[in-house]
């Protein structure tokens, strides 16, 4: 029993409604594939490289099938026939297609491929690589001293991967546990992944396989010298969501921002597209033991944190169910929320603590991701430091897991190396000073904190009931989340959604699902 005396019946009603909502969407997901899922499959088959115009070969091949044949049969249909006929690897076939030497449309009218087994060794090789990454991570985590306080998460965003590395190392030396490399603004809307190490980005650095590798290598080195594992985060979101999840799994990222609802609402990505992409990404991340981060915190950057707190909770319930359908254990569900109440509001800290504590009690096994004040940061760095301190107190007291540190220069610039150091000093101090505070306190029955938590839960339940009746697509059209309305057939990326043909095959998805099922039953 938690400290807030939340009603378990209301919570289970919420979970039930959310599961109905997620299953309604899953019906759509199961019927469709997308260009980005197909490109992920090519990457998992070992297809690599770019053409002379720097277009990734995976894009060239998928576009080739889209234009000249029927992509609804899936890339595996074409690749299995071609690999068999030419006795070649998928990468060789892909490069021949890219050079114009091979036309895959000749396989378009053939029945379901009998040569799938020809592809399986390539998929197995990638899964084996991911398995290796899992065991490296696991052994690192076993060697890392355990702590009961939140993991300190900071962002680097210089645009230049080599500068990012310097800033990341400096942050680790000051106590950071998790480093996120923010992507260049606009990358979520690119329908391809840029190639190689990059030094030119705005408000962030491009997510590329080489940048992932460089940062992972640098963090491994600093993990070694610090004697604790430093986790790396990037964004499996936007139009290339599943491909980035693939690269992240291969290059041993540890966390991925991964939330369709965020993309739909804040990046205007088409919902039909991104729900399908998200499912594949989450199955893959579950397989790779990568923690996902959901983006509910963002709702409060446009909506009021007092009035709309229940939309955050409702969305967390839905995201939990989406993750469950992807066979993801709770221990990988980094559900998001934020400290965004207007500081001029009386008792704002009590309301924040109520929300944070409530979230932890409802999702006790999820590594919750707690986001700092941003909306009400003004450029007054001195006040900002105090706002961040209160946020840090709420994070430590309510036992959040992933603690994204606020920067006093929020609303001014992407953090300077010193801004990050000051934020870490602030968090380190409070982590020590408040270490067991949360275990020492109880809340007054019928007091402000308890009543607030009950009210938010109740409102979330009512909202979920409404969403269950409306369905997810209509709910998004109504602008329930963040006050932003999106249409089923609007937004970016709809053209890349295809209804699966009868002979569509995605053998690696099935393989991952069955292995996840085995693992689940083993516990």
């Amino acid at each position: 029993m938690g400290k807030l005396n939340l009603d378990p019946n209301t919570i289970s009603k919420c979970r039930h409604d959310a599961s109905v909502i997620a299953r309604q969407v899953q019906v759509h997901i199961d019927k469709h594939t997308t260009v980005s899922v197909e490109r992920s499959l090519l990457r998992m088959l070992g297809v690599d490289g770019v053409n002379e115009l720097m277009v990734p070969i995976v894009n060239v091949v998928v576009d080739h099938i889209l234009q000249n044949a029927n992509l609804a049969k899936g890339v595996c249909h074409y690749l299995s026939y071609a690999c068999h006929e030419h006795i070649a690897t998928p990468n060789e076939i892909a490069h021949r297609v890219a050079s114009g030497a091979l036309d895959l449309s000749i396989y378009q009218d053939l029945s379901k491929s009998p040569y799938l087994s020809d592809l399986m060794p390539y998929f197995e090789r990638t899964l084996a690589r991911i398995d290796d990454m899992k065991s490296i991570r696991k052994s690192w985590i076993e060697r890392t001293p355990k702590k009961t306080t939140p993991h300190k998460y900071v962002i680097v965003a210089t645009g230049n991967i080599y500068e990012d590395i310097k800033q990341a190392i400096s942050a680790v030396k000051k106590g950071a546990d998790i480093i996120a490399v923010i992507r260049s603004t606009g990358q979520s809307l690119l329908d391809y992944i840029p190639n190689g190490a990059t030094t030119e980005g705005f408000g962030g650095t491009y997510a590329t396989q080489e940048n992932f590798r460089l940062m992972r290598k640098a963090l491994d080195e600093v993990s070694e010298s610090e004697g604790r594992y430093i986790k790396l985060v990037n964004y499996a979101s936007g139009l290339c969501m599943p491909e980035i999840a693939t690269l992240g799994a291969i290059e041993r990222l540890d966390m991925m921002l991964n939330d369709s609802l965020y993309g739909i609402i804040f990046r205007d990505i088409n919902m039909k597209r991104t729900f399908v992409d998200q499912y594949f990404s989450r199955v893959l991340s579950a397989y790779a033991e990568i923690i996902i981060n959901t983006g509910e915190d963002n709702y409060l950057t446009t909506s009021d944190a007092i009035e709309h707190a229940h939309t955050v909770l409702a969305s967390q319930f839905i995201n939990e169910q989406f993750a469950k359908l992807a066979k993801m254990p709770s221990s990988l569900m980094g559900l998001g929320h934020a400290y965004e109440i207007d500081p001029s509001f009386e008792n704002s800290f009590l309301f924040e603590l109520a929300q944070a504590e409530m979230t932890k009690e409802i999702f006790p096994n999820a590594p919750l991701k707690y986001m700092p004040p941003t909306k009400h940061m003004t450029g007054d760095i001195f006040k900002g430091t105090i706002q961040n301190a209160l946020f840090n107190i709420a994070a430590v007291t309510s036992h959040q897991s992933i603690h994204l540190l606020g920067m006093m220069t929020e609303a001014i610039h992407t953090p300077f190396v010193s801004d990050r150091a000051i934020a870490l000093d602030n968090a380190n101090y409070i982590e020590k000073a408040f270490k067991d505070f949360g275990n020492e306190i109880t809340f007054k029955p019928d007091g402000i904190i308890m009543n607030r938590a009950h009210q938010v839960l109740e409102h979330a339940q009512q909202l979920l009931d409404e969403i269950k009746n409306d369905g997810m697509f209509k709910t998004l059209e109504k602008g329930t989340f963040a006050g932003i309305s999106r249409h089923e057939n609007g937004g970016k990326g709809l053209k890349g959604v295809l209804i699966k043909d009868d002979c569509y095959i995605n053998p690696v998805l099935d393989l991952m699902l069955s292995r996840l099922e085995v693992k689940k039953n083993a516990f």
Binding site: G159, G203, D304, G379, H413, A421
Partner: protein, 250 residues
Amino acid sequence: MPFKSQWIRPYGDTMNDGKIQISFSLPMPHDALGEEAAKRFASLMGIHNPQIVHSTALSESFSFYIIYGTVEHQIDATTLTVTEQASVSLSKEEVEHFIEEHLVSPIVIVGASTGTDAHTVGIDAIMNMKGYNGHYGLERYQGIKAYNLGGQVENEVLLEKAIEYNADVILISQTVTQKDIHIQNLTAFVELLEAERMRDRFIVIIGGPRIHFGLAKELGYDAGFGPKKYANDVASFIVQTMYKKGRKLK
């Protein structure tokens, strides 16, 4: 006393004592040499007797300094000029009344966060019903029809929509300012307007944390609004400018 000079320095606790604080990091290890370098920088900035009150290592190769000192520079405040907008800031009700009195409603306003900038917090604060910090957004104003196109809107699309909605005013928000990307983007929009010979058709206003009136003028915009400006400030400028320019007069 219009011609009397007014020499000032920063104020710590005594008039013109020139006390200031600065903080910065250096790409040097935190050691005696690093401290010396920090002091040298302070001296070059005209700070006498720089005192390093705090310093620390940020990593093996970076260090951080907080310095207090006495700045030697002084300025004559009477010689300063600033470019300020000529409009008076009205309340929401006063703006609505002004429109009813003088202008043909609705005043059509199209706004967006443009280019690759996905941050809509600024444009939302000005345009959305709810507004910000107790100041309702333009969508709630009587006599104004406001269209918020959201984030990552291309310059061309913004102009297209402004024409489609027959807009009187275009609002552009820019939040990401790293490497001055906002300047490039804002310059490109003015160039687009000029190339399409439409610069005079609209009142064009920019906003964002690093935007100010002087910058807006320099870039060829009608006005610019920075932090602590709300929907009523923007609306006040709009209605008064329309009145002055004789647009949509009753």
